[in-house]
C-alpha cells in the first residue's frame, strides 16, 4: 500500500526538480507478480532444460550437469537413425491419425446434425471416448488386440474371416495399425464435436440460396458448408496435431515402442532415453529438435486458419 502511495506522489513537478530517487514504473510493479510466476513455472524449467541439452547430464550422475559439451548432443541426434526414424514415424502417425479422425469426425458430425430426435443424447455419448484416460484406452486396446484372448481375433475367427491368430501387437505394421486405431477411436470425437459446433454456426440463408441456385446436396456441401467449416477444422487440426505429436501413453501401454522399435515415436524414445537410459541431456536435446515439428505444424495450421477466416470475411487476423 505504502509503495502505491509513493508511486502516486511521483508527480511531474517532482521529476522536474530531480529531487526524487528513480522508481520502477507503475505498470512494471503491477505486472511483477505475474512475471515472477511465469518465470518460476515456465522460464526457469525451459532455460534449465535448454542448458542441460548442452551437457552430458545423466540422472544417475548429477555432477555431469556441470560439464559443458557444446552441441555434441545435437550432433549425435542429427546422425542418429533411431531418432530420425522415430521422428518420421511420428509424422506418419500424425498424418494418418489426423486425416482419419478428420474424415470420421466430419461424417459423424454431418450425420448427427441431421438427427432431430435425441440429438443432445447422441452428442453426449459422442464425447465418451474423450472422457477416458489415455492410459485406460491403451490397456483396453491392448486387451482387444491381444493375439490369444483379444476380442479382435476372436471376432475374426468367429466370423470365419481368418482362422490364424493375427499378431496385432507383435507384427510391426499391424502394431502401428492397432495404435492408430486406438488413437482414432479415442479422439475422433474431438473433430466431431468441433465440426458439429461449426455446423451449428452456419447461417441458414446461404445454404438455402445455394439450393435455389441449383446446387445438389453434394454441391451445397462442397461449395458452402465446407468453406464455413474450414476454420473449425483447422482449429481441431491445430489442437490435435500438438496432441498427437506428443503421443506417449497409448503407445507406451500397448507396445512400449516395440516390437524392436517398430512403433517407437519421438516421445517414447525420448522418455526411454531420459528415464530408462538416464541420459537426460540427450533426451532434452531430442525434445528441442522435436519441438520444431510441433511449431511447424502449429504455424502451418494457423496460417490456414487465418486464410479460411478471412475468406469468410471474418477479418484477417486472429
Amino acid at each position: 500500500m505504502a509503495k502505491h502511495l509513493r508511486v502516486f506522489r511521483h508527480t511531474p513537478e517532482h521529476r522536474k526538480k530531480g529531487t526524487m530517487r528513480r522508481r520502477l514504473p507503475e505498470w512494471f510493479v503491477l505486472l511483477l507478480p505475474a512475471f515472477i510466476i511465469m518465470a518460476a513455472v515456465v522460464l526457469i524449467p525451459l532455460v534449465f532444460s535448454l542448458y542441460s541439452s548442452f551437457t552430458p547430464y545423466k540422472l544417475t550422475r548429477p555432477s555431469t550437469l556441470w560439464r559443458w559439451i557444446g552441441t555434441s548432443n545435437y550432433e549425435k541426434i542429427l546422425t542418429d537413425v533411431k531418432f530420425w526414424s522415430a521422428f518420421g514415424r511420428t509424422i506418419l502417425f500424425l498424418t494418418i491419425a489426423l486425416n482419419l479422425e478428420l474424415l470420421f469426425g466430419l461424417l459423424i458430425a454431418l450425420m448427427v446434425n441431421k438427427v432431430t430426435l435425441g440429438q443432445r443424447t447422441i452428442r453426449t455419448i459422442l464425447m465418451f471416448p474423450m472422457m477416458f484416460s489415455p492410459i485406460l484406452v491403451g490397456f483396453q486396446f491392448k486387451f482387444i488386440f491381444n493375439d490369444n484372448i483379444g476380442l479382435a481375433n476372436n471376432a475374426l475367427q468367429a466370423l470365419g474371416i481368418s482362422d490364424a491368430a493375427l499378431p496385432w501387437l507383435v507384427d510391426g505394421k499391424l502394431a502401428m495399425f492397432s495404435i492408430i486405431f486406438a488413437e482414432v477411436w479415442m479422439s475422433t470425437s474431438v473433430f466431431a464435436v468441433l465440426i458439429l459446433a461449426g455446423l451449428f454456426a452456419i447461417p441458414r440463408d446461404p445454404l438455402e440460396a445455394a439450393k435455389v441456385d441449383g446446387c445438389t446436396a453434394w454441391q451445397t456441401f462442397r461449395h458452402i458448408t465446407l468453406p464455413f467449416l474450414m476454420p473449425f477444422i483447422f482449429i481441431a487440426l491445430t489442437i490435435r496435431s500438438l496432441d498427437v505429436a506428443r503421443a506417449y501413453d497409448i503407445v507406451q501401454i500397448m507396445t512400449g515402442g516395440g516390437p524392436a522399435g517398430r512403433t517407437e515415436l519421438i516421445w517414447t524414445l525420448m522418455s526411454r532415453t531420459g528415464y530408462v537410459d538416464a541420459r537426460m541431456g540427450l533426451a532434452n536435446a531430442m525434445g528441442y529438435v522435436s519441438i520444431l515439428l510441433s511449431i511447424a505444424f502449429t504455424i502451418y495450421f494457423f496460417k490456414k486458419l487465418s486464410a479460411a477466416r478471412s475468406e469468410l470475411g471474418f477479418g484477417d487476423k486472429i
Partner: protein, 364 residues
C-alpha cells in the same frame, strides 16, 4: 408461359397450422405482392413455392409442372432473401456467376451473363469485393444480380428491402420496378409494408393468420376493401371506422346521436337495427375550401380539431367525430390551432359500411 398456381396449399408445423388452404393463381409476367402483418404466413407460402419448405397439403404448379416433389434447383426459380444470403467467401463476381458455374455453363457465357447483370444493377465497380466489404444497399443489389443471372421463370423476393434505411428502400423499390419492366418475368414479392405493396404490385394478395383476405389490384384493395382489416391495413393513414346502428330512415346513428345517411352502394345490404362500422378515408373528409375536387353527395360537418400534422402539400388533422378520433386531410393547408372548430365535407359516395359482427364490407 410461367403461371404459378396454388391449390389448397396448407403448411403445418407439427400440430400448428401456419397456412390454411391457400388458392391463388399468378399470371405470367405478373408482379404479385403478398402483404400482411408479420407472422401471417407470407414467407412460409413463398418458401413452399421455392421448395424450401415441404407442402403439407394441396398442390403448387409452376408453368405446367406440379412442383410439389421437385427440389428447389429443379423449379427454375430465383430467390432474393431478406438478409441477402450472399456467399461470404466469394467475390461479387463469383457470387453472381455461381449458379451458372454450378450448371456447368461455358466460362465465356458466364462472363457475358455476369457482366450484363452487373451492368443492369450498377455493380461494375464492386466485382472483386467480398460481401463483407459492401454496404447494405450494395449487398441487396448483388443479391438481385445473382437472381437475374439465373434467368429463372419466376423471381421470389422475401422482404428484400426491410433491412435498408428509408431512403435506400425508396430507391431500391424503383429499381425493382424497373427490373420487372425490363425482364418481364413473373415476380412474387413478400412484404409487410403496404406502401411497398401498393407501389410495386400489379396485384396484391392480402393475408392474415394464414388465410388470404383479399386479392386484387392496389386500387381495388384501396377503394373496395373486403373487410375492416383490408380497410385499415391498406392505405395510409388507415381508414377511419366509427361504430353505429342502422335505422329505418336509411341513416346510421353514430354515438352522440349524430346521424349520417347510408352511402348508396350499401343501401341494399343493410337491415334496420344492424350494428355496423361506418368507414371513410382521411382523403374523403376535407375542410371546406381545402379539397381538390368534391364529388357526389356531400355531408356537412362541424368538427373540432385536436392535433395537426403538417406534411407540406397537405396537413393531417385529428378531429373529434361522434366521440371518436378521426383523421382528415387538408390540402393547400393553412395554419390550424388545436381546439379550432372547422367546417368539413364528407364525401358520402366514397364511404363504406362494414358489418360490425364479422367486419365484412356491406356493398352491392
Amino acid at each position: 408461359m410461367t403461371e404459378v398456381t396454388l391449390n389448397g396449399v396448407v403448411k403445418r408445423y407439427g400440430k400448428h397450422e401456419a397456412v390454411h388452404g391457400v388458392d391463388l393463381k399468378i399470371h405470367d409476367g405478373e408482379f404479385m405482392v403478398l402483404v400482411g402483418p408479420s407472422g401471417c404466413g407470407k414467407s412460409t407460402t413463398l418458401r413452399m413455392i421455392a421448395g424450401l419448405e415441404d407442402i403439407s397439403d394441396g398442390e403448387i404448379s409452376i408453368g405446367s409442372r406440379v412442383v410439389n416433389d421437385l427440389p428447389p434447383r429443379e423449379r427454375n426459380i430465383s430467390m432474393v432473401f431478406q438478409n441477402y444470403a450472399l456467399y461470404p467467401h466469394m467475390t461479387v463476381r463469383e457470387n453472381l456467376g455461381f449458379t451458372l458455374r454450378i450448371a456447368k455453363q461455358p466460362e465465356a457465357e458466364i462472363e457475358t451473363a455476369v457482366k450484363k447483370a452487373a451492368g443492369i444493377l450498377g455493380l461494375d465497380e464492386l466485382m472483386e469485393r467480398r460481401p463483407s466489404e459492401l454496404s447494405g444497399g450494395e449487398r441487396q443489389r448483388v443479391a438481385m444480380g445473382r437472381a437475374i443471372v439465373r434467368r429463372p421463370d419466376v423471381f421470389l423476393f422475401d422482404e428484400p428491402l426491410s433491412n435498408l434505411d428509408a431512403k435506400l428502400r425508396t430507391q431500391m423499390r424503383v429499381e425493382i420496378k424497373k427490373l420487372h419492366q425490363r425482364v418481364g418475368n413473373t415476380i412474387i414479392y413478400v412484404t409487410h409494408d403496404q406502401v411497398e405493396a401498393m407501389t410495386l404490385a400489379d396485384r396484391i394478395v392480402l393475408m392474415r393468420d394464414g388465410h388470404i383476405v383479399q386479392v386484387g389490384t392496389p386500387l381495388e384493395l384501396f377503394n373496395n376493401p373486403f373487410n375492416t382489416f383490408s380497410a385499415t391495413f391498406i392505405g395510409s393513414p388507415p381508414m377511419n371506422l366509427i361504430d353505429g346502428v342502422v335505422t329505418d330512415a336509411d341513416t346510421i346513428v353514430l354515438r352522440n346521436s349524430l346521424t349520417v345517411p347510408i352511402p348508396a352502394a350499401a343501401c341494399g345490404q343493410v337491415v334496420s337495427g344492424q350494428l355496423v362500422q361506418f368507414g371513410f378515408r382521411a382523403d374523403n373528409l376535407m375542410p371546406v375550401g381545402h379539397a381538390v375536387e368534391e364529388t357526389g353527395k356531400l355531408v356537412d360537418l362541424e368538427l373540432s380539431v385536436s392535433l395537426t400534422e403538417p406534411l407540406g402539400t397537405e396537413t393531417l388533422l385529428f378531429a373529434d367525430f361522434a366521440g371518436q378520433e378521426v383523421q382528415a386531410k387538408m390540402l393547400n393547408p393553412r395554419p390550424v390551432k388545436p381546439g379550432e372548430t372547422i367546417a368539413f365535407h364528407l364525401m358520402l359516395d366514397k364511404c363504406h359500411v362494414f358489418d360490425a359482427a364479422n367486419g365484412k364490407a356491406l356493398r352491392d
